[in-house]
Symmetry: C2
Subunit: 155 residues, 2 copies
């Protein structure tokens, strides 16, 4: 079995185990240099944290384990098609090698698809199903936060 299939099988086994424990069917394995650095399962049901998706949990775990928010070179094997939050989280961490075993189409009969959210988020902000407002408050007498940050970066 190719390594990719092996890691994917592990992600699927994590998802299966998570369902048996009352969770959602999502698991993820994060691999660097052929070694599993972190795993994650969907913990939304058990923690009430809507961000506790398998891939995001694996990214957090790997970054903290390695002591760096930069996970360039890592591969993520996700049992299900990553949602927009998890995809962006992986990209923020520099991860560009991502695979998944169940597509959004595979998930449709079970309500397990992030396709509608993807579709909305691809629209211009003003057309999405939300209010997204630029409110350029600049408190008087206080230093501008971006200028303040800029100064710290020149030290």
């Amino acid at each position: 079995m190719p390594d990719g299939d092996l890691f994917m099988t592990q992600a699927i086994a994590l998802a299966r185990d998570n369902v048996r424990k009352g969770g959602r069917p999502f698991g993820a394995v994060l691999v660097i240099d052929g070694e599993v650095v972190a795993i994650g399962v969907n913990g939304v049901m058990s923690t009430n944290d809507p961000t506790a998706h398998a891939e995001l949990v694996a990214v957090r775990g790997a970054a903290m384990k390695r002591g760096s928010p930069d996970l360039k070179g890592a591969s993520v094997y996700a049992s299900g098609h990553p949602c927009p939050m998890c995809l962006a989280a992986m990209r923020l961490a520099g991860i560009t090698d991502i695979s998944y075993a169940y597509s959004n189409e595979d998930g449709v009969p079970y309500g397990l698809t992030s396709a509608p959210l993807y579709a909305d988020l691809r629209k211009p902000f003003a057309e999405q199903q939300m209010t997204f407002a630029y409110n350029p408050v600049r408190p008087e007498g206080e230093e501008d936060i971006y200028e303040l940050w800029g100064k710290t970066q020149k030290g």
Copy 2:
């Protein structure tokens, strides 16, 4: 001062304080029914967690405090334009009222913009700067994870 400006001033103050503590200039305030339920600051520098953005931290905090991943009706006041991860996290939690005080354009001179990542993520998956592969592994002799999950939902 309108309530929105007041909460935004609070988000900016959190960002300023975070810079003074060595962090990035981002703060967020999550409000439900006129009350601040959770706050967040960017903790990437202090925790090495690439997902520790102000808005995501506030969403996690609010959800766990309320004992529900559903934060419908909440408003988020973010000092900076939310990144794609945080925007998706808020939407997953059902939050549709979002405002920010510093735009991506405001952040460009300081390298504080998520516009390039937004631009990439808006492209079709195959055109994005990543490998994103459907690898439909189905381990032999094991129950299908989505079917297994489907059964638990009928109970």
